[in-house]
Amino acid sequence: MENRVTNILLVGVGGQGIILASEIMADVFMEAGYDVKKSEVHGMAQRGGSVSTHVRFGPKVYSPLIKEGEADIFVAFEELEALRYLSYLSPHPTILLNEQRLNPPGVSLGNEDYPADVKEVLSRRAKTFKTIPARDLAVRAGDVRAANVVLLGALHSILSIPEKVWTDHILKRFPPQAGPVNLEAFRLGKAS
């Protein structure tokens, strides 16, 4: 077992399934024998606000928050939100970017511009950089809402935790009829 703590930062927009993804991760890491803590920051809005979730696992975890400058793995569910949290990244992070843009109100109203160079900025900053068309893959799996599970599949491919632990906990979180779609979403994410 690794004897240091692994820091995973997930960011995106309320409604993208980030919190559910982080809850599955916490269960998976506990089952795999680690200590785990997770914490999220979200504003007052039920939907549409900026969301970030910190997940940390290792032999013993104290702080539920990642120290700025120490996120090893960065999973961005939305492109603009990825830029908001750059100060949290470690010097050599792995970045998984979901290729999706959701306009914030200022952009919708035509008062501000959506940043143009997200991928360049992130690829320069990352040790390993991967883009994932999670939304398209989720649609291919059978439900656009499974984009978060696609990203869990992509995350699985860079961590060394048995696949069965992931799939067991994914199945636990959904009603039986949604099981096959989510397993397919996980598989597509893993292969992406």
Partner: protein
């Protein structure tokens, strides 16, 4: 055997702890970050679990249960304790028979609050002990300890959490519930429970003696513990701050306080004498630091760590290691994502009219406080639950004719029932010319749609009496009570214009369920669309501030030859078909997807 471990939030763990303690009555008013405690407890069968109309009623209900020998829990956010402070301070005198735990969920950083008061002061002020957990396992364990201490010392016990403890998740080991040692029943004890001055004077010395006993107990309380490490640095800390300090300086010596009031003075003195440099790491006020200083000890606290906002590992590291401010990664200036009313929200129509009429709007606590944000920009005050009505009354009495027709109070249904009723009663009694708009969306929306006395449903989902807000207003003496459909902009404008001009009390009930309600729907759910040929690019629809309506920059002319700088477009996934945008469009460009 099943794995007894689960990953729980601090709030879920407190609920589990209360359940394992054999709690019989639990009462709360929803408020971030405390809400999930009662929701989680409601998932266990056994205890009576209720949403009370406000925190004072919640604590009084818990008190009654504890007087009857049952274990009782009252839960509230930090500012909720202000509402419940009246019973709390005298409960400290009476004590109780069954254990009573009052959970205060503080919100440093004001993630969802109007202030960041540090409720540790309440423990000292009300002379009651306070426990403060650092993670979910402790949240569960301390809840159980709190019930035991409550019965042992005949005192209410406060359990203080913060947003970061309440909403973080970590591993918790579950246990089976116990049968509490005290047997519930009616036991008369008027000298102890009737706080006439003569009796209260007898109780005050008991309170002081109890605090001395508790201070002695704190010296051997196992959750106040020393973790020896390098003796160059000694850190006194509690709650979430312990985790941050341990993270960034695991090699230091720690005095970890599970009980933050009263403090174990001898333990502190002995710890201080054995370390070279002493720190207190605590969020918000220098509550522990000042008491340590008063003992004559040299200590670093707020000189090294911020007084304002949440701590985090980086801030604690900077303070402990005296680091210079690190060069910040240059963050690009990014468009913000502020909280915003949902597409189809019933509040939007009211605020678009209030904005149009340029009224001075006294506001209250709830989703509708977001009516402050542009482009609606139609809230002028917001202080605490129920205050909108008093504010409007004061403006009327101070300004008289000058304010007539220019002021309205807005308050949600849950907030009105929490503490707006007495304000309205005062308007009637003292002859105020005040218009109160009750934004009745039939739920407590902001905290995640909890039931209240106006929804006809209890916390456990049982059917119950549903208070009729119009009849209630009439019973208080309001003669002019109108109900409007907030999705009918013309009607909303007509009614508000008429009512604000009245030189006497009036109430407008804006009635439509929260767009997120699972029980009722007032909007079609069928998305509208913009006919690009007809859109004149006037931006009227955008002034509603609906997330489903966007502006597309595109200079040119529409099909009728009208010049425009761009056009509006509706996101069919977000639109709920509330039709407000179609109502404000002067060009008939917004229609249902079927063309109607």
């Amino acid at each position: 055997m099943n794995d007894p471990r689960t990953v729980l939030s601090g709030n879920e763990a407190i609920a589990r702890g209360a359940y394992e303690s054999g709690v019989k009555v639990a009462a709360a008013y929803p408020g971030t970050p405390s809400t999930e405690i009662l929701e989680s407890l409601g998932a266990y069968s056994g205890p009576h679990v209720e949403w009370s109309p406000n925190e004072k009623v919640a604590l009084e209900t818990a008190m009654g249960a504890a007087f009857g020998g049952a274990r009782a829990l009252a839960v509230m956010k930090h500012v909720g304790v202000n509402v419940a402070a009246d019973p709390l301070f005298t409960l400290s005198y009476t004590g109780l028979r069954g254990g009573l735990v009052l959970v205060t969920a503080d919100d440093p950083e004001m993630h969802s609050s109007q202030n960041e008061q540090d409720n540790r002061h309440y423990a000292r002020f009300a002379k009651v002990p306070m426990l403060e957990p650092s993670d979910s396992q402790e949240a569960k364990d301390y809840t159980k300890i709190a019930f035991d201490l409550s019965e042992k010392f005949d005192t209410p016990v406060m359990l203080r959490t913060t947003t970061r403890v309440s909403h973080s998740k970590s591993i918790v080991r579950a246990a089976e519930p116990i049968v509490p040692p005290v047997k519930p029943g009616l036991v008369k004890d008027p000298v102890k429970l009737v706080m006439l001055p003569a009796n209260a004077r007898k109780r005050h010395p008991v309170v002081e003696k109890r605090m001395e006993d508790l201070a002695r107990f704190a010296e051997t309380f196992p959750e106040n513990r020393v973790e020896w490490g390098d003796k160059k640095v000694g850190i006194i800390t509690s709650g979430i701050s312990y985790e941050y300090a341990k993270e960034v300086m695991p090699e230091a010596s720690f005095l970890k306080l599970g009980m933050v009031y009263p403090l174990p003075r001898e333990m502190i003195r002995s710890f201080a004498s054995r370390v070279e440099k002493l720190y207190v790491v605590e969020e918000l006020d220098p509550f522990i630091e000042e008491q340590v200083r008063a003992m004559g000890l040299a200590v670093e606290g707020k000189s090294a760590f911020p007084l304002i906002g949440e701590l985090n590992p980086l801030l604690v590291e900077k303070g402990l290691k005296n680091l210079p401010p690190a060069p910040q990664e240059t963050a690009p200036k990014l468009p913000a994502r502020p909280p915003i009313m949902c597409p189809g929200c019933p509040h939007r129509g009211i605020f678009s009219i209030l904005n149009k009429m340029k009224l001075f709007v006294t506001g209250d606590i709830g989703c509708y406080t977001l009516g402050f944000l542009p482009p609606l920009s139609a809230i002028d005050t917001c202080v605490c639950m129920g205050a909108s009505i008093g504010h409007a009354m004061g403006l009327d009495k101070a300004l008289g004719e000058e304010a007539l027709g220019k002021v309205a109070a807005v308050i949600g249904d849950s907030t009105f029932l929490h503490s707006g009723i007495t304000g309205l009663l005062n308007v009637v009694y003292n002859r105020g010319a005040v218009t109160v708009i009750i934004l009745d969306n039939h739920t407590t929306a902001m905290t995640g749609r909890q039931d209240h006395p106006g929804t006809g449903c209890t916390l456990r989902g049982e059917e119950t009496f549903e208070v009729d807000l119009a009849k209630l207003a009439k019973a208080l003496g309001v003669r002019h009570v109108k109900t409007v459909n907030p999705y009918d902009l013309a009607a909303v404008e007509r009614v508000i214009k008429k009512e604000v001009q009245r030189p006497e009390p009036s109430v407008i009930i804006s009635r439509a369920p929260c767009v997120l309600s699972r029980r009722e729907k007032a909007v079609s759910g069928k998305p509208l669309a913009v006919d690009s040929d007809l859109c004149a690019g006037c931006r009227s629809c955008l002034r509603l501030g609906c997330p489903a309506v966007a502006w597309i920059k595109e200079e040119g002319t529409n099909a009728r030859g009208k010049k425009r700088k761009g056009r509006a477009a509706i996101d069919e996934f977000l639109c709920n078909g509330c039709t407000l945008c179609a109502q404000v469009c002067k060009f008939g460009a917004i229609k249902g997807n079927d063309g109607k």
